[in-house]
């Protein structure tokens, strides 16, 4: 056991750091793009704050196309774009770009779902007090759906955590990459197992944290 950790401890630690950096950065950027997109999508929906069928349809297409492309294809297909943005298609920076592009439409969709759950009566009440549409988005829709948004963020984070394993194919490292290289390609079952256990534990921790936070901020019951 001690021998195993002497030999692979540093590797696994580096893998954990790489995975977390990739996941956290791409999650952050996915929200920078996906959150406004999701709000726009919800606001222009039929029965929304400012219904606009044309805009809503186009947004729907973009979001659905983005969500339907398999990640491993996307990863390779946008390599020129990735180079343009971060100057390389390799390593952690090379992985964060495709991860962000893959997750942003997913984020837009779950944000839209969360916002759609907000009681229409609350929006009507806010209108009746003279709130502007912008104020209603910020002070009513986002505020009232915050627990749901947090749950969505936890799901996004865990999904990205899983996707980041595939980013190993562009040399970004990470726990998933270690599991594949050592376990799948070199038949070192013990390293693979250690990497997988770390993945399971980390996912459990983040999901539990997300659920706990969502419950804590929810004042409905």
């Amino acid at each position: 056991m001690a021998e195993f950790f002497d030999k692979y401890g540093a590797l696994l630690a580096q893998g954990t750091v790489d995975t977390l950096v990739m996941t956290i950065l791409s999650c952050l950027f996915a929200y920078v793009i996906g959150l406004p997109l999701g709000i726009w999508f919800a606001v222009t929906a039929p029965g929304g704050l400012r219904p606009n069928r044309a805009v809503n349809t186009v947004l729907g297409w973009i979001i659905n196309i983005g969500r339907s492309i398999p990640f491993i294809i996307l990863l390779v297909a946008i390599i020129p774009f990735t180079r343009l943005v971060v100057g390389t298609s390799l390593g952690v920076p090379g992985a964060v770009v495709p991860l962000t592009v893959a997750a942003a439409p997913f984020v837009a969709r779950i944000v839209e779902q969360s916002l759609a759950e907000v009681d229409k009566g609350l929006i009507e009440a806010a209108h009746s007090f003279g709130a502007s549409n912008f104020q209603i988005v910020v002070k009513v829709m986002l505020k009232e759906s915050l627990p749901s948004l947090v749950r969505g963020a936890a799901i996004t984070f865990v999904n990205l955590f899983g996707y980041s394993a595939m980013a190993g194919t562009v040399g970004a490292g990470g726990l998933g990459d270690i599991a594949i290289r050592y376990g799948y390609q070199r038949f070192q079952g013990d390293v693979m197992l250690a990497a997988v256990i770390l993945c399971v534990v980390l996912v459990q921790v983040f999901q539990t944290l997300g659920d706990w936070l969502a419950r804590k901020i929810d004042k409905r019951s």
């Binding site: 009681d119 009566g121 609350l122 009507e124 009440a125 806010a126 209108h127 009746s128 007090f129 003279g130 709130a131 502007s132 104020q135 002070k139 009513v140 505020k143 009232e144 915050l146 627990p147 901020i217 929810d218 004042k219 409905r220 019951s221």
Partner: protein, 268 residues
Amino acid sequence: MIELKDVGKVYHASDGDHRALDHINLKIDDGDIFGIIGESGAGKSTLVRLLNLLERPTEGQIVIDGDDITNYEGRQLRELRANIGMIFQNFSLFQQRTVLQNVMFPLEVRREPKAQNAERAHELLRLVSLDDKASRYPSELSGGQQQRVAIARALANRPRYMLCDEATSALDSRTTVQVLDLLARINEELGVTMVVITHSLAVAQRICNRTAVIDAGHIVEVGETAELFANPQSKVARELLDWGFEKAPDSDESFSSEEIDCSEEVVA
């Protein structure tokens, strides 16, 4: 004063047009508690939503204090709405805000100075006898308490008018009486003109000085409440009267014997 002149509302749907309101002419005087009574689907909810333009009329004019507001937009519309408080059947309190933050909401959206907002909100909560619940969340309150918070919130901008959309329909009869008496007191002491939408005769009889009966998008009868129900001219009014006596004798009785517990002085 609120005047509706030949107001109509038509909804356009894929299966054809649906006329919700037709040639509505009404005059609501300052200081009135004006009842609009009718069965569900008669158009009363649509009618009250025209007064603060939550719904737009498709015909006619709405005049408030001499100004034709029918086509108000943007800033002008938001100013108008600040002068018309509204309460709802399901209270529509913001669940993720405390009672105090709920009452402050209308002030917050008007960008009033923050410090004064809290002071004003506490003042309003004292008016509805709920200042001790200021830091609670709506889910921790009973229905009657929630509606009293909603009333405090509706009064935040010192409106001249208040719209009550089936405000007591989700409450039991005892709580209904408390809320109605609170509304009557606000009308009397703060001079807020009220428009009360209800399907309940007992509600109209308890607080409305004037009442209009609406049926299938038409106003079929308007008058002093007592007179109207002593001598109903329309079929609908007679039906409401029969219904009131046959089906809700309990609530009628309890309506006259209850005392409201919100007895603090008016500070607004």
